[in-house]
Amino acid sequence: MTATLEKPPVTEAPVKEPRDWRGPALFALVAVIGLVVMPLVLEPFRLGLLAKYLTYAIVALGIGLAWGQGGMLTLGQGVFFGLGGYAMGMHLKLNDAGDGLPDFMVWSGVETLPALWEPFRNPVFAIAMVVVVPGAIAWLLGTLVFRQRVRGAYFAILTQALAAAMVILLVGQQGLTGGTNGLTNFFEFFGQDVAADSTQRGLYFTVAIVLGILFVGAWQLQRSRFGRLLLAVRDGEDRVRFLGYNPATVKTITFTLSAVMAGIAGALFVPIVGIISPALLGVVPSLELVVAVAIGGRFALAGAVLGAILMGYAKTYFSEELPDAWLYLQGALFILVIGLAPKGIIGILGSLRRKKEVAA
């Protein structure tokens, strides 16, 4: 008994954790499909759509981190997506306008470029803002609400209200933001014709690689001690305090990271789709992405990504093939997956694999 307090010579881990190569192998496979196969088999229009889904997947990755790992159900992720998108859109608009004013300012009766816009001429500044603005807002909101222990449904509903308020704010400042129309009609993207197939192809590769990098980063984070801590905060925030950690810090960091991811996704979305509008920030798109994450499987980052891509694809497919039934299908899909497979598609795959292993 007393021996336990003397320092036992611990050099080897009593619990063996063999390196699992299945994950990295699967990742490599997906990377090959994404970077080699897809660009070869898809025509430009479809490749563009896939690029769009991948931007959603980046947002979903952030939601997976914040919600799946950290328990923060954020229903306002569209806000950060939109802010990233607007930062990029503002730069593109100014770039297109040259010395003049962006088109919507002209028809909104704005005569001189608002001061807020001026620095966005500088591409470095604009790209920095893609990350800084969503990050700063998330950090501020997080600091305020998490410190006060606002959580669970409160947090979810607050972020939802944030989305609603943000849309109204953007719509109301037509001269500054383009109102409901948002920013559209871009011509040039960093010297390239934004609509040219080659540019779009390049954008596809960019978004795919960015997603890959962010995924690996998020995955490492999830497996780190911080990731464990995040899970602990999710399941017992109050108890974590008695382990000497401040859960508010952990949550704020994670929420900020997820916002930054959404911002990056928004910035990539703009040249790919050619528009950023307040509607993209709203409650519905934000919710849709959360549901996509739930469908893919929120407890695994891969599930979040998978869910977003599948949802994007399903939305396009069904609205093209069965436009009348689309809403029924979408609703039914949510109900079924969330109802029958609370761990999502990844969860189903996981339990199938385990069954096979048990059988073998």
Partner: protein, 387 residues
């Protein structure tokens, strides 16, 4: 960008024994309320044209897509109709926002969009035909009417987006030049339903009339709450530019009877083409259905395009554009002529009063079709608006 071979608008669609045309409206989301009826009218026109032998000996084949009340989706679906389905032309949109989102897609691919709703002007894309009214065919006649009625103190109420804001800018310029006073200008978000405060503001300002550019469901809440605050068409008429027969039902006739509206067409407009249109529409979709201005403009769009294709002998976009100028057809609203220069229509402005039966009775019209002037170049007071 340089259009690739496959995306050159128009040509490819005429290949088989049908001609594909795209119909792109919101079939879901907030705007579905309005846009579904426009799609229905367009489908009716396609059916009629096919029954009459089609265009260039080929039947029209509609490809319907859902814009889902979401502007980026409009852009995506427009792209899909053009690059995948290779449609000859697209009829679509309602809100100006959806049009602004689609505009770059059509310009890039040099494809054609027919846009069927009244709008704020200040636009003239070479790849869009505007079959609804521009401001000088609706807003300005509406103002002329109010002035004529001696209503000089006006309160402006609108939804918070580009059409109402631009319309109100024009109204203010008009008022300044015509001795009218604007007592207030209020915007509410799309889908807003709480109008008691706004009503209080309006009542407190004691205007002669209200100029209403609210869109969609907000109109219902606005008129219901205005009515319960004791405002009537006699005490304070509200002139609306986005309330047609379709919306009257939803608002409740009670709540809006006697108020004026400004459009180019009413179900009650009397001419042979309209008698036929209303009968055909009710036969296809039910006797209880009403027809309205945007529906008629959508219905017209299909006919006008078909006429231009016939004249050009091809669906090829540049040829169709070139052939379109000067095409004149007797339509339910009267004579409609395409202005080749702006690709807007000559349209007759009509002021109507909402009747207890929910229909609209015309009380004033411009006598002849007004030449479209999207940039209001012929109005000296509007000089500063379109820079």
């Amino acid at each position: 960008g340089e259009p690739t071979e496959s995306t050159t608008g128009g040509g490819a669609a005429a290949g088989g024994d049908t001609i594909k045309v795209g119909l792109l409206h919101s079939l879901s989301g907030t705007m579905a309320i309005s846009e579904v009826t426009v799609r229905d009218a367009e489908l009716l026109a396609i059916e009629e044209i096919n029954a009459a032998g089609g265009v260039l000996g080929k039947k029209l084949e509609p490809v319907v897509e859902d814009g889902a009340s979401d502007w980026p989706t409009f852009a995506e679906k427009a792209n899909k109709l053009i690059s995948q389905d290779k449609v000859a032309t697209v009829f679509g949109g309602w809100t100006s926002a959806s049009r602004k989102a689609m505009l770059p897609v059509f310009e890039r691919h040099k494809a054609l969009l027919w846009y069927p709703v009244q709008y704020e002007g200040l636009e003239s894309s070479p790849y869009i035909f505007y079959t609804g009214a521009t401001t000088n065919q609706q807003i300005i006649p509406g103002l002329d009417y109010l002035k004529e009625q001696g209503k000089t103190k006006i309160f402006l109420v609108g939804s918070d987006y580009v059409f109402p804001r631009t319309a109100n800018k024009i109204i203010k310029a008009y008022a300044a030049a015509n001795g009218m006073t604007i007592l207030g200008e209020e915007y509410t978000p799309l889908g807003h339903t709480e109008y008691s405060t706004l009503t209080n503001k309006v009542v407190q300002a004691k205007p002669d009339a209200v100029f209403n550019t609210l869109n969609g469901d907000s109109n219902v809440a606005f008129f219901k709450q205005l009515k319960s605050a004791g405002v009537t068409a006699e005490s304070m008429p509200v002139l609306s530019v986005s309330v047609a027969e379709e919306e009257v039902t939803g608002i409740g006739v009670d709540n809006i009877v006697g108020h004026p509206v400004a459009w180019n067409y009413y179900q009650t407009t009397e001419n042979a083409a309209n008698t036929k249109f209303v009968a055909a529409f009710k036969a296809k979709y039910g006797a209880a259905k009403v027809t309205s201005d945007p529906m008629e403009a959508g219905y017209n769009a299909v006919y006008l395009w078909a006429e231009a294709v016939k004249k050009a002998g091809t669906t090829e976009v540049e040829a169709v554009k070139k052939a379109s100028g000067g095409i004149a057809l007797e339509r339910p609203e009267g004579l409609v002529t395409i202005d080749g220069e702006t690709q807007h229509m000559y349209k007759t402005a009509r002021i109507g009063i909402i009747q207890p039966d929910g229909l609209i009775k015309e009380v004033w019209n411009s006598g002849e079709p007004i030449k479209p002037d999207p940039y209001l170049k012929s109005y000296p007071w509007a000089g500063s608006l379109a820079s």
